[in-house]
Subunit: 427 residues, 2 copies
């Protein structure tokens, strides 16, 4: 998901673009490609195809895909990949759906052949639990339904890109692997994209684009996070008759007091918060357990690591101080469970992939913005592989809310942008 | 409820007893009364009546009396008071059931007549919520059911005392007011007994005994408590994009860290604990609210007051420190809601009422123990009115648990002790 922290890029910035390896200069490539008849035909086709895109967006969205239960939507997507004529269509161990459109160099079955390999993806999962009403309603140009923008829009646009490439008979030098990932949201913890880079296509991806959500932004800063659930435990007992035992809620308080005073840099932006706390069964009992959930984020790996070290120290200090206060009576223990691990990363504004994205966005008459967020692109960013996440067009509200909306007005521009970016990065 | 902190009283202690005002010397009164034919007849009757007592204990216990919903059991008790021939039987505003057995000086309708006035009580309420299965089972001598000891036993013994006084035709100089109180448990916060002393019989009670639970103890130390629910509030927001706002969970932690280091005296025993904590909706959001429930206790009013002042200061300091940390950005507020207020009190071991209780206990061949607890007697103790709580005989386990048991073996001794104490204190 993208965060609302945008930089509107000045037009002049694009002129600084260095050339993209295996491609034309990033700053010009959008306009240059639009001179080609096949590309123009594909773009025309994408625009004409938009009603179909919206229908697919609704159809896919009405197949539930709760966290860790994306299989039904994945099956439908597998069929769509097959129907679109992709090769080597398959589901990997993690549950990601993959299909290839071979480049002129042949299919990417080995490290040598079919390189560069461009991966274009969208994510299957939603944040909504099983049993959520996923019916989509439509009023005028506005669709309403859980996940309609994030990321049913991306899933539909991904299929539209394949169709438009076919309609325009666009041949690309690079192989394009289309992927629908699992586990992008929340506790999914990027498990799909982690498996993609760590196992399924390990060492075989040269460029990565995730199409995620509504709008026209380009996410190039991957905000990483480390999340913990910390549980303080002791024997507990009656608040009066057992007084003198160490208290897990007191240890938690001591740890939070230390955590609260940690200093973090403003740039690279680094943050922390105790998001949830709980514990205890009765006002008149020393709890046997108290817990907290803590979120730490940064776009910078070193800053995130330093923060995490300070946090872990705070937890140990809080526990030790509470045990010392009661002379180790009812000695507390503490469990620090890592429940979220999203690597931070940054694709520089000056990098070819960002330049190309800015170029194609401008070539289509759209105003490019640069965003930060926590998306599937975090993983390749952290590995040093050129990666961005782009919005999929239209206008959205209420991502992660049941009342999420997607306004289809001129949403074909988003489809065209994804298409042109795909062609540009597959050169 | 009594706490398991007992002092077994050495026999010699009773010899030190000063005389009870309007009565015989505390140390001898038990044995002296047992010389009287009417008292002996009453005691005989109480023993013979025990099967009836146990039946009533079961019958009353199977009428639900959840916190704040004692009315059904109160109605049954009202009928029992009427059936036993008490005068001026009534329910007061708070829901307490009252009935009088006039002393030789006449009914206690005014401050002058019928003094001294002795109140003997038991409590109607249980800790169990509506819908709890209150069916009582019996296996051998053991009854099992929620509240069977605490305080259905006290309620049954109270009625048995009236019957035995009548059977023995015991005339007392003092008027005895029998009371079944509401709100003794938990959040009931002693509201019944507070209303009794503050309004219904304000200024008209000279001695007070609560019959509560199983066993043979004498509670003379009233552990007082002050309980708070503290809620820290702020705007809350996304853990990353809204970073820089004060965090209610952090303020709570800071307050708890200060609270945890407060020093309290070992004697008079004074205690504190954060019993429950909560707040927050998601690991990746700054909570808009965090709360804690805090219990503070002491048998000493000054010590309790000093602790409470330290606690309130800790809460304010924690809030201020968190606001200062973020330069008042998303400034937090805090609510300190008093949810429990039980006044502490002490009836000295050397006081006549304790002497008398020890004397009658010994006269019946029972081993006297002195206990502390938080019972209806707290309120008169805090007002300086002679007051104790006595156990109602038998042997119990699991007070406040669904599996509570009461062993009826020789439980008539508890009935006799309550009877003899009533007679002794009504002299």
């Amino acid at each position: 998901m993208r965060f609302p922290r945008r930089i509107v890029v000045a037009a002049g910035l694009c002129a600084l673009a260095p050339s993209l390896a295996h491609a034309q200069a990033g700053g010009d490539i959008g306009a240059a490609l639009m001179q080609r008849a096949d590309v123009r035909a594909a773009l025309e086709s994408a625009r004409a195809d938009e009603p179909h895109v919206i229908e697919e967006q609704i159809r896919l969205c009405e197949i539930p895909a709760p966290p860790f239960k994306e299989a039904d939507r994945a099956r439908a997507y597998l069929d769509a990949f097959r129907g679109a004529g992709l090769r080597n269509v398959r589901v990997d161990k993690a549950g990601n759906v993959l299909g290839e459109r071979p480049g002129r160099a042949g299919p990417s079955t080995s490290l040598g052949a079919g390189r560069p390999n461009l991966v274009i993806s969208a994510h299957l999962d939603t944040v909504f639990p099983e049993g959520t009403d996923v019916h989509v309603t439509r009023e005028g140009t506005v669709l309403k339904g859980p996940g309609i923008g994030d990321d049913c829009r991306g899933l539909a646009v991904l299929l539209a890109v394949i169709r438009a490439l076919n309609k325009g008979s666009v041949q690309t030098p690079a192989t394009i692997t289309f992927v629908a990932t699992v586990g992008e949201e929340g506790l999914g913890d990027l498990r799909g994209v982690k498996a993609l880079f760590g196992e399924t296509l390990r060492g075989q991806i040269d460029r990565f684009v995730s199409i995620d959500g509504s709008g026209y932004g380009i996410t190039h800063r991957g905000v990483g996070s480390r999340r913990y659930r910390v549980t303080f435990k002791g024997p507990g007992g009656h608040s009066y008759s057992a007084f003198g035992l160490a208290n897990p809620a007191h240890a938690l308080g001591r740890a939070v007091a230390v955590l609260g005073d940690l200093q973090v840099p403003a740039e690279p932006k680094t943050t922390f918060a105790v998001g949830r706390i709980g514990g205890g069964t009765s006002v008149n009992a020393i709890p046997f357990e108290a817990w907290m959930e803590v979120d730490m984020r940064s776009v910078d790996a070193a800053a995130l690591h330093a923060l995490e070290a300070g946090f872990l120290k705070a937890v140990d200090e809080g526990t030790a101080a509470e045990n010392a206060r009661w002379n180790q009576n009812g000695r507390l223990t503490v469990e620090k469970q890592l429940v979220g691990d999203r690597p931070p990363g940054l694709t520089p504004v000056s990098s070819p992939i960002v330049e190309v994205a800015l170029s194609v966005t401008k070539a289509l008459g759209l105003a490019p913005t640069l965003d930060e967020g926590s998306t599937d692109a975090n993983t390749p960013m952290s590995l040093g592989i050129p990666a961005i996440t782009i919005d999929a067009g239209g206008q959205g509200t209420g991502a992660h809310a049941l009342e999420e909306t997607f306004d289809t007005q001129e949403s074909w521009k988003g489809t065209q942008r994804a298409l042109l970016l795909t062609i540009a990065l597959a050169q």
